[in-house]
Symmetry: C2
Subunit: 202 residues, 2 copies
Amino acid sequence: MMCDSRVSSVIQEWTSSYPGQNHTQSQNPTTSNHAGLNTQMSQVDMLSYGPSQGLVRGAGEDRMSEQMMGLPYLSYTPSCLSNTMNLGSSNHHQSHATAQQDFCPFLLPSLRAPVAKRSITKDSAEYRLRRERNNIAVRKSRDKARRRIVVTQQRAMQLQEENQKLQIRIGQLAQELDTLKHILSQRHLQAAQDEATVENAM
Amino acid sequence: MMCDSRVSSVIQEWTSSYPGQNHTQSQNPTTSNHAGLNTQMSQVDMLSYGPSQGLVRGAGEDRMSEQMMGLPYLSYTPSCLSNTMNLGSSNHHQSHATAQQDFCPFLLPSLRAPVAKRSITKDSAEYRLRRERNNIAVRKSRDKARRRIVVTQQRAMQLQEENQKLQIRIGQLAQELDTLKHILSQRHLQAAQDEATVENAM
DNA sequence: AAGAATTGCGCAATAC
DNA sequence: GGTATTGCGCAATTCT
């Protein structure tokens, strides 16, 4: 009693506040295939964690940029042999900004134009501000997720305890009920016998 | 019944396989202060997510390296004004490898020597191999964590449902018990009256 | 339309 | 030695 309502609210909050299920989640077709929040993958565990689906890429920075352009595969194989030389030479933002020019020359000019826009001038202006703000948001969000996990786990343990207590209570009640039924049947028998006795006496 | 054992195993697995609590977690004194898996922080939410404790640093890469050297604060303030220029100029591994030479000249030579060692030659050898292997492990681990979360949540919901059913069952049993007790008391009364009648007739 | 929140990923430190 | 976990920052996306 009363615990159920609290539990209910927690579950509710969990379900509604954990958007992993209803999000579209179609952002990265190459690496998101194994993170679908689904539970029906167990025998392919060892096979699903390939090296980024073959696309090795450079230093692991601005990877989305190239893939999200609409060319997930076979476009701009990132020189698997020379990536060691490229490792530190590429500025994150620089490479991100120029990638659209270098590797997507076939796009419509209207789509390539934004490269020089002020909004893309991330090299050192309020870009740092935005990054820092996002970092703070990320920390906060992850803290929240961690707390949520802990709460859910505690709730599960608590529910399990309560379940055991309820099972015990049910056992007690059932036993008591059995006893009473037995007594009642005995009384029934006794009454029948009494009636029979009286009838015989008449 | 039977569900409890399964739940128990799940909870057990959860508790034992989620090492967030017993890990030392002292890796980054500057930014890890707010991620202690503790649930008692609610009114300081907005205050705990500062910009990395004041240490702005360059591009957010190889940050641990400098801090983990044993000089978390006040050592090598990373030129907060010129970080915008430094943003892309620093190679991750290069800066990491040379940091020990540049910023720790007071260490014993025996501790500074490893810079040129093969093991620290991460620039392009089997470093990539190690990184890729770790990346695979990370993906796998996070998948596991995600599945664990989903399982725990489902378990909690299932336990809640079962709890409600048990509560209902308890209500039914209690009612039945009440009825039987009432009947029994009536029989008691009846028997007493009968006995009195018989006694009077004698 | 703009900022906050969420998420997948890679890196480095660390635990095991 | 290797894998597993974890905190963090980045970028893309979604939510508000």
